[in-house]
Amino acid sequence: MISLSEHSSPEFSLDQCIKCNICTTGCPVSAVTDLFPGPKYEGPQAARFREPAQPSPDRSVDYCSGCRVCNMICPTGVKIAEMNARARAVLVEQGKFPHVLRLRNNLVARAELLGKIAHPIAPLANAIIRWRPARWLAEATLGIGQNAPFPPFAFQSFTHWYHKHPSQLQSDRKVVYFHGCSTQYYEPRIGKAAVRLLEACGFEVIVPPQNCCGLPLLSNGEFKAARRYHQSNVNHLVEYARRGIPIVGTSTSCTLTLKEEAPELLEMHDEATELVAQDTYDINEYILGLLDEGTLHLNFKPVPLALGYHIPCQYRAHRLGKPGSELLGLIPGLKIIESQAACCGIAGTYGYKKEKYDIAMQVGKPLFEFVTGTHSPLIVCDSETCRWQITHGTGVPTIHPVELLAAALGLEVDEPLDGVLEQLPSGASDKVNCVGV
């Protein structure tokens, strides 16, 4: 395998392709549809024909879901997913997308904006999302899948709760929490669990001004806007990186974007961007690291549940192994059944589009069957859109691993985990058992 310079553009890696087709055997999208010819074709092969000044030879690249399975299994390190994403951005720039679709893409890709608009009128917004005629109209005019799993907006945003929550700890050990749009507007309970967990371990949790990581825009080829979003985050976060304060997140896609996807796809390699990337951690990764170092000791109380756990495709893309499984494995009594599925299908904004909704559901079918087979009361998953897709495809409620960790330390947790735990035979004390050294 050739070792290229750190900062050459992803397209240079196409020469490493040995045409083995292992990527194609693993691609969940080309397995279910002919509209996507496969990673080898779209990535290294088609890249040879993509001249900068000429129109792109194909539009099927838009059917790449960005799951990155191809990258993971390529034996020679070709950066297929990056090539596809960048090719799509070129198509967008060349105006190859009909205006309506581009409008649609921008709407679904701006989660933060949607949140800002809808959050103040959450009850009304939620009613509209569920109103079938409105969904039918949205599909007919904008191409937003009428059955796609839009989650309800929360009534209290995460930052609102955070600024008012009673136990704001002051400490020398600090972490920055990057909440992301989903925690902020849809699932603040996950941010609450994360903050409670980190504070119980003796950390002062800082939630600085921050914005959407920009991944949905990157996935839709809107690179100019994505660059603005990422630059803004870097500006907000770099001072913490310089002070050695880690940036911890619960959204696997947001943390991967900060670590790698934004810098790679946008070719942002300045010092500030790199500092922020190197300072960003997934929460499971972070806590495991502290446990390994010996600077943190956790006494988990038993959580006697058998739960299915789906590792999101973007979580594997962090290339950390299975930190979620490792960490959850430390909770006594907890049985984790790992899904073998490569991808739930939703792939961020992909499954929300009318023309891709069916593909997304077919990609997710093996996972849905696995979930039903586990007879699990809850499914654990690190990524927000995966959680919504899994619930959509199976009816089973979903939680983030951090909620289980919080419960295992006797901290307050919300529905749906709360309800499941209440049904267990009553057990150990409710004391917090977390020691920081």
Partner: protein
Amino acid sequence: PGMRLHQVLVNAIEREGGRVYDGMQVESARLYGNHIDSISSAAAARLKNHRAKEYILATGGILGGGFLAEYSGEIREAVFNLPIQSPGTRLEWFERQFLSPLGHPVFHSGIRANPELQPVDEDGKVIFENLRLAGSALDGFEAIRERSLEGVALVTGYTAGRR
């Protein structure tokens, strides 16, 4: 059939409590004298450490990507910089005839090992006592001419595992 075999092996490893990870390329190692303390694989924005008591290097030599070749013709082993027996310059890599019955010297490249499959230097001294080699990384055979690629991999893999 390759995919079936792969799945059989992965299932067997996972049944015994092992973990198999895709896409995490090992780039460097932490060493204490002739003992490997840990190895590091490329992760997003950082390196991830892996600690173990014993290690097996099965990175496949030139064909597998475990050996990297410079323009000068020098071939180096990608993780530990183990010494590789190889022809000197690129001019000496190949015979003139494509299908030469002598084979091509470059494909003979490999790391010398003792019967325990530990890597050894030219005096036969063990370089890393908790590392074993398997497959095409080894010196002493020429997989293409001999048609021995999978055979060597199987036997040495099994032996390294038993040790």
